[in-house]
Symmetry: D2
Subunit: 381 residues, 4 copies
């Protein structure tokens, strides 16, 4: 594989590389790791790359790699640049005939995402989006339960994602503000908190519960004085089909770390999953003991098993879940390269449809919050 972005010191690029490395089947061989050619070069050394395949720009990289014979060129590129560049980089590689794994959010805005869908469709290439939390085995088990009807009809869904890292200088002395590109609208787009983590909560609902939003009513807030984008958002949601619920995300929930969770309540049973304790899945019943399903056990469904690497209670975590997205996307890419048809049940990784849904969620939430404090219908895209 190749990589765009993710040079020395970049957190998410390092996560993508570990996820790709884990199973020993994907090898990083090329990259344009930084807009600064020297930084890109040094990063290439860190990763033991052939200097001739460490590029000064992603455009150069796409051109040069596409010119290599198929057995030499990268099979796909990982895009880990900032939000505002996702579209251009993805477009460039897709049009060069190279498959893409892209960090989320998919693009800067919904319009770009819709354009990107056209490009993906036109090129027929694989486009995977790393909504990594859907890679956890017990998330896949939860999805299996919902699909199998084990929860009955869903009535209520609550997904939350509180973090506290951005509370730092909330009192507003202006000195300590997190110099985070995430709060810069020209980089992040119309939302920070909802865009960065609210979309994960939204995607998790879609993945597990298989439902889409019908309308929503949002209250987004920037608690930090001077911050231009939201650092907290609470959203009432009506789902198509009759379920209702809540999605909320926060970066000013002091002391919370990465507390993504989902609770889905059905007429027969309910599930509860917490990202900070990802190997367990709690299932609750009206009049039966609660059950704790634990990763690695024989009683789980095939999806959870296929996405596990170690026996029960040898905890797996964030990197392994991330790697599951890579494995699934790489499997699809291998199918394309080797001319195999897609499996009947489809592939199990987030793709451009998830990206579009996410951008629609961001824009609808911002619209609801800004314009009139009302319920806003969710676009059909």
């Amino acid at each position: 594989m190749g990589m765009v972005g993710g040079g020395r010191g970049a957190f998410i690029g390092q996560v993508h590389r570990m996820a790709a490395n884990l199973d020993g089947k994907i090898e990083l061989v090329a990259g344009a790791f930084s807009a600064d050619p020297e930084k890109s070069r040094l990063s290439g050394e860190d990763f033991f790359l052939d200097p001739s395949r460490v590029y000064s720009s992603y455009q150069e990289m796409a051109r040069a790699e596409a010119a290599l014979p198929p057995e030499k060129r990268i099979d796909f590129v990982s895009i880990v640049v900032r939000n505002n560049l996702h579209f251009e980089v993805a477009k460039t590689f897709l049009e060069a005939g190279i498959h893409v794994i892209c960090d989320k959010p998919v693009t800067f805005n919904l319009e770009q995402a819709l354009q990107l869908r056209s490009i993906v469709t036109r090129t027929g290439l694989v486009f995977a989006l790393t909504h990594n939390y859907t890679g956890y085995p017990m998330v896949k088990e939860a999805r299996r339960m919902v699909r199998a009807g084990e929860l009955g009809r869903l009535l209520k869904i609550v997904a939350e994602y509180p973090q506290g890292y951005a509370v730092g200088d909330v009192e507003g002395d202006g000195q300590g503000q997190i110099a985070n590109w995430r709060s810069d609208p020209s980089v992040s787009g119309v939302s920070n908190c909802i865009g960065d983590i609210g979309t994960h909560a939204h995607n998790l609902i879609r993945y597990i519960c298989g439902v889409e939003i019908e309308s929503l009513c949002a209250e987004l807030t920037a608690f930090i004085p001077g911050r231009q984008l939201d650092d907290d958002g609470n959203i009432l949601v009506r789902f198509r089909g009759g379920a209702k619920g809540l999605i909320y995300a926060s970066q000013i929930s002091n002391g919370d770390e990465n507390a993504l969770s989902i609770r889905a309540y059905g007429t027969k049973a309910s599930i509860e999953w917490h990202q900070e304790d990802p190997n367990d899945l709690l299932v609750k019943y009206a009049n039966a003991p609660r059950r704790v399903y634990r990763r690695g056990n024989d009683y789980l469904g095939p999806e959870a098993k296929a996405n596990s690497r170690t026996p029960f209670a040898h905890p797996e975590g964030f990197i392994e879940a991330f790697a599951n997205i890579y494995v699934a996307a790489a499997g699809a890419i291998a199918d394309r390269i080797e001319g195999r048809p897609a499996p009947a049940e489809g592939y199990d990784f987030p793709d451009i449809r998830d990206g579009i849904a996410g951008m629609a969620f961001i824009e609808t939430a911002v619209r609801s919050s800004q314009s009139s404090d009302k319920w806003v219908p969710f676009p059909v895209v």
Copy 2:
């Protein structure tokens, strides 16, 4: 004490009696336990009462007890009848010169609650309302922390109270519907779920955080076909002073039992408390280990200590918390009877002001949900 309502088989009456019994300082000596005189008489036998003080109606009871010499008559009455009777019974006893401890919600509607406030003020008697969850020692510790500024300025507050007991026949065959007076508007008032348990979440916020709602945006739902009142409600909240948050309550969250919790996030620290695990209080910080404060320890504040009966890790529960409300109210009643002034810092039990705030919360939430899906200002009452 005397009791109105709470005859054989009534759950909440039994809780009130256990709460009153626990410390051996309050004795049940009179009652009108049922609108059915025979049932009242039999209940009196169950409780080993003198038959001459088991009455056929609360009116008779108020009259007869008020006519007894002070050292013989009941010091106060516990009112555990249905919501729609609270006002009349409370009024009757207060006007007969007898102190009152009343189950919540305080009255059938806000207007009655305001009238009751006038009567309480006029008579100068004690009126206590059993918002029992504020009786837990660790709730009192949380309140102490907020008051002492240990959390800094509050930014976000999330209080939830999901239950699942009413999901029973959600598919609507009409046979199994819980024959519950709570879903009958002529008994419960304008709300079931928000009125019954949402008010507890609201009261818990007010007690711990000392904040009042400025405006709210609610979505109440009756998921059970044919049910006239809400069995689920999700509410966005803006608090006076700038904090924001969520209050939600549900009776159709299948498999949840009595999962009241509160999370309050401040600029310095945050607290989290769960009613199902009431002896612990979790405190979270931006960059310090989380702390678990546990009931019964020397390091706690005086309020938590004064409201504990056993050493650490000898778990205390619901009845003990309920008893703490009784102890505090009985202390105020004893002060009045014996002519002692109230303590400078006031009494620590819910009173008519809590009742009014609760009725305002119910009515505002219903108004927001029904009329126009908008933000509705919270009345100043």
Copy 3:
């Protein structure tokens, strides 16, 4: 009821009174609360007793109460004095024809316990011992499961009871030593830690698992310099029937509070219960999701239900469990007084047999630890 010991400021006497009060069916009417007649008198005032039934000594109390007509006299006495007096007080009341509820350990040594058994047998009176942890509803559910064979054949049992309260001056400056009669052999007998809390762990095993010890190998330690009795003990155990296990207790496990727990592993399933979280019972299987049984639910057995006072997730605790012992013992006493036969399945409260087993456990553990570091057979008593 009457009470011997438990005057002002005594913890365990207060617990016994709350346990007796809770359900409004037992009334404290007489007592000899202290060896100091003045302290006894003042305690009687605290409890609103008729001064004529507050006695200066337990001997006087037994005599005077026995002389009252049956409908006036106490139905039973609660004994909450120090260990070394249990035998004499119990003997005195039993011989006066008065039923007894006695705090544990039953007597000062095994020999006294055997004598007491003779007296109980001879008098035909009720003798209940407050091994209170067996009063928890979920302990009763665990017992039901074992009896019903739901765990299969038991292979291994681990019961532990770590506390940390006595670590205080472990470095031995001699100043801060807990001036605790428990470490005085003339009051406590041959053991402190094993006698005080190890016996609870032992009793819990016997109650839930229905097994007796065949032999044991103990290591008792006094970590505090100058302390005469053990403050920590670790014991390897072989049970009759082939199971093996561990019992350990500690008072120097710094920061542990009251962490009694039991894990029993069977060929079909295993159970795990923690006193600090008493409303839950965890059941584990070889290849099925873990189950969490929770107090107050309909799916529980009749014993757990009969010993609950509130609905699910309205937490019950230590006092309620203690009260369950009182209720069961008082039921047996009422049967005797009113001439009803015992139920076919027997009564469900700890009695003199539990007392004897406990004293045998203490003496065997001490013998194993002191003499030769070997396995010592458990006496058949």
Copy 4:
């Protein structure tokens, strides 16, 4: 690196490879994956190896690799064969001048371990042993606390490792017995349960607490009829310096999965860590709130930070801990290769000394259990 053992389908070989892959700095380039040359060859294909470096035997591999020029040959070999072959394979590679990372237990018996120590000393090469649980960041934080004196003097240590996987056919029909080489003395040595997992508990104590056993008293059991080696063991322990404790391990604790834990109680504070929840470390105090230290936070010590790959609450697990051993050992190997001196504070990975201590633990426990049920002194080796 090269690998001996760990062909297709072998669990632990796969774990070693993932651990080596994770950070993209170690590459598997050679191997003798099975005693069956064809299976070795096919495994080599699975791992994308150059066929010329996939060997039919470890002897051939050591010879051939040693003959390559230094920049071509493997830097070290991972040994993941069965226990009884560890010694011969390790000896062969060390004597061929190749560094070794070896799965535990280090050898078949203590005598071999002592011989191996001589070889390691003589060759001056790196020998690392994958006691992988010491790779967890919060285990390193616990060790830092003990070393810094934050716990005071240690009084009691309890380490346990219950599993249930071997309970399968405990009723002894002989059909379902786990065909596990672990229960074969000719492969595993004198112990199964204590050797396989008891040693992990022992190693964890040594690593965190820095203490050695003075004497022990063990009870090992084979619960499965016909099983030749222990599947359960409970051990009383006296540590040098005065602490006491318990080590127990079990494979018949039905429903337990991989429940390694340690509790160490000191005069100032105590720590508690559970492998199934590895990102948290609980610290308990006599009179202060409990603290939960969580991986990934700034407040942790440098060791915990250096061994983390993701921010707080992005859970890390078993593979990451395992990888930390690889990283540390590979760092030492790089130092040797590049002629750098060892750091002043030494390296942080388990080595031959841990191997010897482990073998001494196994043999002492078996001796105590078999001979005379007595306390046996721990050898000084």
